[in-house]
């Protein structure tokens, strides 16, 4: 595709298709609906399948089935719809299936849900939070790659702005390197051979009557530890000599970065860190970026969730202050008054002017 | 001149009207017609011509609760151009 004005929702669907995604299932919910609509329009054109599932629970089940056959497949919703899928998310992670999940969230209140796993037990999804459509096109493709590489679900955290902004982007397939063969997938061909396969979250192997969840769960934990070491990503700007570091993610980070650039232009020693992966959280990068900072300001559009991870990364090495807040519109879609360049700049300035430890 | 009799009449809260026109065919004697003018919301609305029977059909089909229906104790006659 050449550079063309495209809605964020469409860009994500196109990027997924460029990455080889051939199955999608979802149920409409603002602001996720258009992602579903674009998949529904485009997948049949490339020989894929999009099902307008009858509910979120059925959507995730369908995606589970599709991804089990080795196909690249995805599902999604808003955070509310994803709440309904939590049992499946937890278990699909145990089944080690490379499902990609799109959360077109209503704001940033789903940070915990995305990064801690809203379901039962110990499991994690890799969470990618693009700042804009351009990055979304890249990260959507990366999501499919990481999912396959780790055999673990990957969640793309977007929001109303990402879904509904139009921008001209160039979408072409990206190459992230080789992947192992999907020698675990079921295609029906191995029955009766004694080597038939099973995709399952219970921790059994074909032919063995017993299950061993303890060691399966521990293996999973070891995998998650490895992901934590290897996959953290973040963007930093002006952090070397920053006295105040602003931390923000996703669409809201665009407001933060804009303000920080403006302030830098005015000579203010302020820096910016944006976790691109919300899990694994880029703790080390954040810690070194904040080395020497007098204040770390966390801008998020919720009651304070990512701030836990910032504090855990810094463990008291710098004062951490919250400069975000819950902020939504009358429809609850997450397009609140905080999403304003001047307001964001004002919040940052308040920290600059305050003594170390912040304005509160 | 001739006279047309109305056995009933209606009030129409035209500012509430959204111009859907559902009331027009619903009126058995067809005494409702859409206005040329538009209300504050920018919609045309129904206007009543003589001959209402007070049957209440318009009210039942109006999604915006615009109508009230009255039955005259004595039919009212309207003089109209021939």
């Amino acid at each position: 595709m050449s550079r063309e004005l495209i809605e964020g929702s469409a860009a994500i669907a196109e990027a997924a298709i460029a990455a080889g995604c051939r199955f999608f299932a979802g149920y409409p919910m603002t602001p996720f609906t258009e992602v579903l609509e674009h998949f529904a329009r485009r997948l049949p054109e490339v020989g894929g399948v999009c099902i307008n599932a009858e509910s979120e629970l059925e959507a995730v089940g369908m995606a589970w089935g599709a991804v089990s056959t080795g196909a690249r497949a995805a599902t999604g919703s808003t955070g509310q719809g994803l709440s309904l899928m939590q049992e499946s998310f937890s278990e699909i992670t145990r089944a080690e299936l490379p499902l990609v999940i799109v959360n077109m969230a209503r704001g940033q209140g789903d940070y915990y849900q995305s990064t801690r796993g809203g379901g039962h037990g110990d499991y994690r999804h890799i969470v990618l939070a693009p700042i804009d459509i351009h990055e979304a096109v890249e990260l959507t493709q990366l999501a499919f790659h990481l999912a396959d590489a780790w055999r673990n679900p990957v969640l793309i955290y977007g929001d109303y702005l990402l879904a509904h902004t139009y921008e001209a982007v160039d979408i072409r397939a990206l190459d992230f390197g080789e992947l192992p063969a999907k020698d675990w997938a079921v295609d029906g061909s191995l029955g009766g051979t004694g080597h038939s396969r099973s995709v399952n979250p219970l921790g059994f192997r074909k032919g063995e009557t017993g299950v061993d969840p303890d060691s399966m769960w521990k293996r999973l934990q070891a995998k998650h530890d490895a992901i934590e070491r290897e996959e953290a990503r973040c963007e930093t700007e002006f952090v070397d000599d920053a006295e105040t570091v602003v931390v923000a993610f996703g669409s809201l980070a665009k407001f933060a970065r804009y303000a920080v650039r403006e302030l830098r232009g005015e000579g203010v020693r302020v820096g910016y860190v944006r976790p691109i992966t919300l899990w694994p959280f880029p703790s080390q990068a954040l810690a070194s970026a904040c080395d020497g900072a007098a204040n770390v300001a966390v801008l998020e559009q919720n009651a304070g969730q990512m701030i836990d991870d910032v504090r855990l990364a810094l463990l008291g090495r710098a004062p951490v202050v919250a400069i975000g807040e819950i902020s939504t519109d009358p429809a609850g879609f997450g397009v609140g008054p905080l999403l304003d360049p001047e307001r964001v700049r004002g919040r940052i300035e308040a920290v600059l002017e305050a003594p170390p430890g912040g304005p509160r | 001149m001739r006279a047309i009799e109305s056995r009933g009449t209606v009030t129409i809260a035209k500012q509430l009207c959204k111009g859907c026109e559902l009331c027009i065919p619903a009126c058995p004697p067809r005494v409702l017609e859409m206005s040329e003018a538009h209300n504050e919301q920018g919609f045309p609305y129904p206007e009543l011509r003589p001959g209402c029977t007070g049957c209440g059909a318009c009210l039942l089909v109006c999604p915006d609760f615009c109508f009230e229906v009255f039955l005259y104790r004595e039919p009212v006659a309207h003089e109209v151009a021939p």
Binding site: L5, H164, Y166, S251, R257, Y258, R261, P330, A331 | G42
Partner: protein, 189 residues
């Protein structure tokens, strides 16, 4: 920024302007928002056009131009309009307050023009056409092509009406009255 009441075609108009700008090799980013539930609430959209990739977020605090289809949700938009900015409104329906001292005001009888073409619902495109002509933001052919691309399949029957509306609007504009592209190449927002 463009503002109106849901269903007035404001989003389509903004999208057409954005798409036309991209056709002319500019950078554009456009976002539509709804201020209430889906029906009957206000609908705003923000369009940022520039010569270089746009680092501004899709919601702005200040705007260089404001187009208004209806006065009902005009106030917050007007408050964001920079001194010297362009205010283009849909007369005579528009009854909002205009500050002719601070802003360059243009009144375009968009609804009457569109109604004359047989479809009041194309008023927003008349306004968009007039805006393009007045500011030189984009050319008419780009607008028309952009409109074609922007129409969803279930609106295809409106192609001709929309094209006529854009053309009539372009006609009704005041070319050169408020150039979008100053000599220094800076970006309007």
């Amino acid at each position: 920024m463009l503002t109106g009441i849901g269903g007035q075609g404001v989003q389509l108009a903004a999208q057409v302007l954005a798409r036309a700008a991209v056709r002319e090799d500019r950078h554009a980013i456009y976002l539509g928002t709804y201020g209430g539930t889906m029906r009957g609430g206000n609908t705003d959209s923000t369009l940022v056009v520039g010569d270089a990739p746009i680092s501004a977020p899709p919601i702005v605090s200040r705007t260089w131009a404001a187009l208004a289809m209806h006065h009902q949700f005009w106030e917050p938009v007007r408050d964001k309009l920079r001194p010297g900015g362009v205010a283009m409104v849909n007369s005579p329906a528009f009854e909002g307050e205009l500050d002719r001292e601070r802003h360059r005001v243009f009144e375009v009888p968009a609804t009457p023009i569109a109604a004359g073409l047989g479809g009041a619902m194309a008023s927003s495109l008349v306004l968009a056409g007039a805006f393009a002509a007045t500011t030189g933001l984009v050319e008419l052919p780009s607008l028309i092509e952009a409109m074609r691309e922007s129409l969803p399949p279930y609106r295809r029957q409106h192609l001709e009406l929309n094209q006529a509306a854009l053309a009539a609007g372009f006609e009704a504009g005041s070319p050169g009255a408020a150039p979008a592209w100053p000599k220094n190449g800076g970006a309007p927002a």
